[in-house]
């Protein structure tokens, strides 16, 4: 507990205006309570990780912020306006990439600008820029079927960024990737976030991923899904996985998450 208190509430985070406000949000699927009364304020330009074992409702919460699901109770506000449907202000990156297989990498990234009615040359310029940002210059004309998992997720990130959303929602985006690709993409994600400050909400079940990325970690509990603890790590970037502070926080979070997994009765 001592670690959590020492890392609690970074002052600069607390001073920033609230971007996403989650007020008494619950979600019920039939008889199953997926999420119970969640209250959370996420500051502008923050990087929040929702951390917890499967079944804690972290993806459900993300899907409600995205507008794919409606809360059974309470409300979610983005910029003070209630979320009722998906919208271009909230970009989403999925674990399964969700690229349009009939479009090339370039045309996938063009999708958002195209919907906004931009001219072909503008679409192209925006897409080229964002593909370069994610390190995919030279792969513009490839179809998703010809890209590796890591490259697909880079395209998906570029596609979300090309729409210039103020919120970026990421649902276990690196969960399907191998360990090396995963670490490279985590580093790139931080670089992109530092360049192009957005409010990021990032779902993960990897403790070290959460500590590496987030300036706010929301640890979620199970049965029913709820917020168990909010930790704001004050480690300076770039974070080293072998640093004493990193390891101490990791141990603390592991303890919290393990207690939740044991509640489920599966190991």
């Amino acid at each position: 507990m001592d670690i959590a208190t020492s890392l609690d509430a970074a002052p600069d985070l607390a001073m920033r205006p609230t971007k996403i406000s989650i007020r008494g949000v619950g979600k019920v699927f039939g008889d199953n309570v997926a999420l119970e009364k969640v209250d959370l304020d996420l500051p502008e330009n923050s990087f929040t990780c929702l951390l917890g074992p499967s079944g804690c409702g972290k993806s459900t919460l993300l899907n409600m912020i995205a507008g794919f699901l409606k809360p059974s109770s309470g409300q979610i506000l983005v910029d003070g306006k209630e979320v009722t449907a998906p919208g271009a202000d909230r970009g989403v990156v999925f674990q399964e990439y969700a690229l349009f297989p009939w479009r090339t990498a370039l045309d996938n990234v063009c999708f958002g600008p195209m919907l906004k009615g931009k001219s072909k040359s503008e679409q192209r310029a925006i897409a080229m820029k964002h593909l370069a940002t994610v390190g995919l210059a030279g792969h513009e004309q490839k179809y998703p079927g010809n890209l590796s998992g890591g490259m697909k997720q880079r395209v998906a990130i570029a596609r979300a960024l090309a729409n210039d959303p103020s919120v970026l929602l990421m649902d276990e985006p690196f969960g399907a990737l191998d360990a090396q690709t995963r670490e490279v993409l985590q580093e790139e994600m931080l670089r992109i976030w530092e360049q192009d400050r957005k409010t990021v909400v990032f779902v993960t079940h990897s403790i070290s991923e959460a500590i590496f990325l987030a300036d706010r970690i929301v640890v979620m509990g199970t049965r029913p899904g709820c917020v168990k603890e909010v930790v704001d790590p004050q480690l300076s970037h770039p974070r080293e996985r072998t640093d004493a502070d990193f390891i101490a926080l990791e141990r603390h979070l592991k303890h919290l998450v393990r207690a939740e997994v044991q509640k489920l009765g599966v190991h």
């Binding site: 969700a98 349009f100 479009r103 999708f111």
Partner: protein, 263 residues
């Protein structure tokens, strides 16, 4: 490798397989005629006799006339079925109330072999072109309709989510996600429908026609011209083969992204 070179091994294999078939045919027809005499040689003409029947029919102009008659019926009927099948499939797939109304009807009619309706078609539409075109339209409609409907209904929901989070309206969603996602299914349906059109036209021409490849075969039967009967069947096979090659090429072009996955 590019172009024809890539297909060469496949082409050689195909030619070899056809050569074996012809060799077998040659052996049985000549063998029966001169050595083992199992059955009346008139029942199985040699490949050369069938070719000769084709040449004779071509010289008299009958072959061209019959090919053209069948093809024009198939194309007209297939075109009507494509428009109706794709249009209705899309409408039913996107609008739930219509689906509840139409699907039971289609499911009831679909298991009935289209040939069962052929006599009715002749009664309703006469023995002219109309009955054949209507019959083909009816037969080809079902595979086109059902595959289009499936394609529209089972678009990956994740792609719908992705597009809606990028700001797609209902119209955008239909045009840029649902239709392209359903295109492979629609093309499969069109290919099945075309195959079925060819399948049923011959039967329709057996019953009531004075031209067409089905008529050619049936007419040959009346006069016991076995080589001409086989010639008619061979011509249908050859046309079907080339049409399928063409449709596959078209599919490869439209679904380039899918071909690239296989490569």
């Amino acid at each position: 490798m590019s172009g024809w070179k890539k297909h060469l091994p496949g082409l050689a294999g195909a030619l070899f397989s056809i050569a074996i078939f012809l060799g077998f045919w040659l052996f049985i027809s000549y063998g029966n005629r001169f050595w083992f005499k199992w059955f009346n040689p008139i029942l199985l003409p040699t490949p050369m006799e069938v070719l000769q029947a084709g040449v004779n029919s071509y010289r008299s102009g009958d072959l061209q006339r019959d090919i053209w008659a069948s093809l024009s019926r198939v194309f007209q009927g297939f075109a009507l079925a494509s428009v109706a099948g794709v249009f209705l499939g899309v409408a039913v797939g996107t609008w739930k109330p219509l689906e509840r109304l139409v699907e039971p009807m289609v499911e009831m009619l679909r298991p009935i072999p289209p040939l069962a309706f052929l006599p009715m078609m002749v009664l309703w539409f006469g023995i002219g072109e109309l009955s054949k075109i209507a019959f083909i339209t009816y037969a080809a409609f079902f595979p086109i309709f059902t595959t289009t409907l499936e394609g529209i209904k089972y678009v990956d929901p994740l792609l719908i989510r992705a597009a809606s989070s990028l700001g797609a309206s209902r119209m955008d969603m239909f045009r840029h996600v649902v239709l392209p996602a359903a295109l492979p299914a629609i093309i499969t349906g069109l290919r099945l429908g075309f195959g079925l059109s060819f399948f049923v036209i011959v039967a329709a021409e057996f019953i009531a026609a004075d031209s067409g490849l089905g008529y050619l075969i049936n007419d040959a039967r009346t006069f016991f011209l076995v080589s001409q009967m086989l010639m008619g069947a061979a011509v249908i096979g050859i046309i079907g083969f080339f049409v399928n090659v063409g449709l596959r090429a078209l599919e490869g072009r439209l679904l380039r992204w899918r071909v690239s996955v296989r490569a």
